[in-house]
Every structure is written in structure tokens, then in C-alpha cells.
Amino acid sequence: MSTRMGWLWRCLVLAAGAGGWQLWTSAAGSSFFPPPSAIVARMYHLWFSGPAAHLFLTADATGNILPSLGRIFAGLAIATAIALPLGIALGRSPAVTGYLNPLLQFARALPVVTMAPVFIVLFKLGTQMEVATIAFGTIWPILLNTIDGAATVDPQQLETGRAFRLSAWQRLVWVIVPAALPKAFAGFRLSLSLSLILMVFAELVGSTNGIGYEMSNASNSFDMTFLWSTIVLLGILGYLLNALLGAAERLVLAWHTDRGRD
């Protein structure tokens, strides 16, 4: 199926799905399942009916959506800043990695939300706790994947570097880092999904603003339409962030041949 047809087909299916959802909820009339039309209207009302100068964002949006996104970026930035260099260093030292392996495996297997209560006690409620939670949870996929990428650099590529007398630094920058990037990106993609989960979780339990906080409010006041709005918003944000990452990946890894499914 050509991409044009594919797009058309997908839009049709989405429209059909949305239509079906609308019909079913309207018919059922349950307050727990407001129709999508109501949800969209509410979302517009809540967040997207602001002045054009603010990109149509309302004060509610700038006061909640932006901080949530900001914390995700901050957490991911910290995680990446630590995990990338550390991952490359460890990947090139298999001996050191051997010593650290059980600790890394334990940290990886630790359910990612379990450190949030710890950080709440440490940092109390608020942004610091949330960023710490996100950073701590998202380090591991990036770290472990980068270690893998750096450890499996093609020895022939390194030998070529030596044959042309590249310095150790040049080999690092021109050979090891680019070779490790595809796997690092795969790790980052995982971390992106985790960051959303952690953002919501941290805000549900320990924040005074943000999307999760709004969700918590909605739940407490039994405002189902509001609750559904936050859920849909999260879905949209998740989709957009993943699309953004995909675009960045295609840009940076343009040279990477598609050797099969990733």
C-alpha cells in the first residue's frame, strides 16, 4: 500500500473509531464515559482557548502543561548528560562493567516508580522531587543501551582508525560515539516512554501543579470529562514527543542503514 493510501486508510480508521466511540458513549449515557465531543470541547475550553499571543494556550495550560513538559525535559536532560558519557566509558572498559554489572541489572529491574516515595521523603513535594524521580528512572535504559553500543563497536572500524593514526580522542569522537549512537537512541526512546509515566505518577502523588495534579483534582471532584481530558492530553503529548524523537533520530542517524526491525 503506497504511503498516500496508507495515510488515508489510517485517517479513515481513526475517524471510524472516533465515530464509533461517540455513538457508543452517547447511547450508553454513562457519566463515566463522556462522549469524545464533550471531551474535545472541554479540552479546548481548559487549555486551548487562550490568546493567540500565547499560542492559544490558556493560563491553565501554561500553568500546568508547560511545567510538566519542562520537568520531563529536565529529567531526561540530566539522565542523558550522565548516562551517555558514562555509558561510553563503561562500554569501552568491559572489566569495570563486569564489576558493576549486578548493580546495573538490579537498578534496571527496580520498578521505576518505587524511587518516587523515597524522593518525596527526601525532597518533599514539588519540582525537585519530580525531576529527581524522572532522572533516576530514565538513566538506566540510556546507560545500559549506550554501554552495549560502545562495547560492540566494530573492531575493524577501530583498527582502521589506528591504521590512519587517529589519536585516542579522535577515535572516540569519530568512531566510538557515532557507532554507539543507534543503540543509545533506542535506549532514549525507552526512556522517553518512562519519563511520561514517571511525570504522571510523580504529579499524582507529590505535586502542586502539572497534568498529573490536574488529573488528581479531576478525580477527587468526580469530574469525569475533566479526567478523560487529561488522559487524552497525555496520549497526544506522548504521540507528539515520540514523533519528535523519531524526527530527531532520522536526522542524526540518517546514515544508519535499516538492517531490519529495531
Binding site: E159, A163, F164, R165, Q170, P178, H256, T257
Partner: protein, 260 residues
């Protein structure tokens, strides 16, 4: 130009040791193209890597231009067999070719120019902005050769450079190497398992015994230059030489050439 004396390389220790090459000696004069040929496992690649300073020998010495080789020396360039793994996929063709220049030339424009010059020398003008994977196998190996040329080497080591391309491309690349050598007066060591190739391109052919590799024969190729894929290969002298080399390679005899 290049003196190899009693070169020995063994991997492992004691009983489990695997001797790749044993007491290999040879001298290469400036501007010579020496083919090194032998059966699988005779240590040809190990020999090349020792000469290039990529591996340290267990015994023996390599002296290049009067200086002993203890690490990768100046003025060396290498072309590997597997261009797919030796060219960097994340760099454009031009950046790949300019890579060895990063060490010596600071100015980006100068590097660019030199890279374009090398690409022209191998017949790939205009491919500079593409990525290696967009080129055919033969063209990729030309890029690898261009990269070696950009380093302006005095000694070029080629490790089975045409083993991964089809026969016709191989012939074109053989002629390219001959032309480049003529134009730039480079000394070349070419390791190959293709007997015809070893005689066709070489001024000398060194035949190694099956592992551990020792020099079985050191033949001088007295074929006229410039060589031609069809004309030269018709000559009786060519046929005689390649038969001789073939016999030497195939013989199971592990006896080395008696030392003088």
C-alpha cells in the same frame, strides 16, 4: 625502503600457542609492488599487520626507511578487504577520504581539496557528498583506496583488497592500483589469495607456506609494463609464472626457502 627480518608472530603461550608466521624475511625496494600470496591460514594478513605496526611481532624486526617499526609509522596507509566495515557509514565519502588528513592538515578547505584530488585519482569525482552505503562495492573500495592515497603514503598495505568484489570490478581495481602506483611512485605490499592477480600486478611475488607461514618462494615478475588485462595475460611468461606460483601455493610442502 622496507626490511623485514626473521618476523615471527605467535598467539597464545606454551602448548596452545598458534604460530601464524615464522621467520619471515624480505626486503622491498622503493616503488616496488610486492604481491604476497599463499593458501588460507598462511598468515599473510598477520604479516601485513606486523609490517604496519598494527600488531607487535613475537620476534624479528621491521625497519621502514631506516627506522624500526614499533607502532603505526608515519607515511603508511592501509586498505582492508571489508570496505563495509572499514569505511565509516556516518561520514560522507569526502569526509571518509579526508579522515587521515585530520591529523596533519588543520584547514578544512585544504583537506577538502586534497580529498577531492584523491577521489579524482580513483575516478570518483562527484561522489564526495554521498554516503558509502549509496555506492556499489567496487566504488566503496575505490573510496578506501582514495582515503589511503589522501594520506600521501610512502608505503601502502593492501589486505586482500579485491576479495569482496566481483571479477570484473576486481580487474578495474587492479589496473587502478597499477596506475596509481605509476603516478605516485608508492611502494605497495598487496596480500591476495588470487594467484592471477598476484602475478598480474606484482613486480615480485612472495609465496608463503601453509601455517605457520614461511617464505616458500620469492619470484621476480619480468613482465613488461604497462600491464594489460588481456594482452599481458596472453603472454607465455605470464602463464609460466602463474603456473609456477600455483604449484607453489598448492604444494603441501611446508619447507621454506633456504636462507642465504
Amino acid at each position: 625502503m622496507l626490511e623485514v627480518t626473521d618476523l615471527t608472530k605467535a598467539y597464545g603461550r606454551g602448548h596452545a600457542a598458534h604460530v601464524a608466521i615464522d621467520g619471515v624475511s624480505m626486503n622491498v625496494a622503493r616503488g616496488e609492488l610486492v604481491s604476497i600470496v599463499g593458501p588460507s591460514g598462511c598468515g599473510k594478513s598477520t604479516l601485513l599487520r606486523c609490517v604496519g605496526g598494527l600488531t607487535m611481532p613475537t620476534a624479528g624486526r621491521v625497519v621502514l626507511r631506516g627506522a624500526p617499526v614499533t607502532d603505526v609509522p608515519d607515511g603508511l596507509a592501509v586498505v582492508f578487504q571489508d570496505y563495509g566495515r572499514s569505511l565509516y557509514p556516518w561520514l560522507t565519502v569526502r569526509d571518509n577520504v579526508a579522515l587521515p588528513l585530520r591529523r596533519t592538515t588543520r584547514a578544512r578547505a585544504a583537506r577538502r581539496e586534497a580529498a577531492d584530488g584523491a577521489l579524482a585519482a580513483v575516478g570518483l569525482t562527484g561522489a564526495g557528498d554521498r554516503y558509502p552505503r549509496q555506492l556499489s562495492g567496487g566504488m566503496q573500495q575505490r573510496v578506501a583506496i582514495a582515503r589511503a592515497l589522501a594520506a600521501d603514503p610512502v608505503l601502502l598495505l593492501m589486505d586482500e583488497p579485491f576479495g569482496s568484489v566481483d571479477a570484473q570490478t576486481r580487474e578495474d581495481l587492479e589496473d587502478l592500483v597499477l596506475r596509481v602506483r605509476r603516478e605516485r611512485d608508492i611502494t605497495i605490499l598487496l596480500v591476495t589469495h588470487d594467484i592471477d592477480e598476484s602475478v598480474y600486478v606484482g613486480d615480485r611475488v612472495i609465496v608463503l607456506t601453509p601455517g605457520p607461514g614461511r617464505v616458500r618462494a620469492d619470484l621476480t615478475v619480468s613482465l613488461p609494463a604497462p600491464r594489460d588485462q588481456i594482452g599481458t595475460k596472453e603472454l607465455p611468461e605470464f602463464v609460466r609464472l602463474r603456473t609456477e606460483v600455483s604449484r607453489l601455493v598448492r604444494s603441501r610442502d611446508a619447507a621454506a626457502l633456504p636462507r642465504e
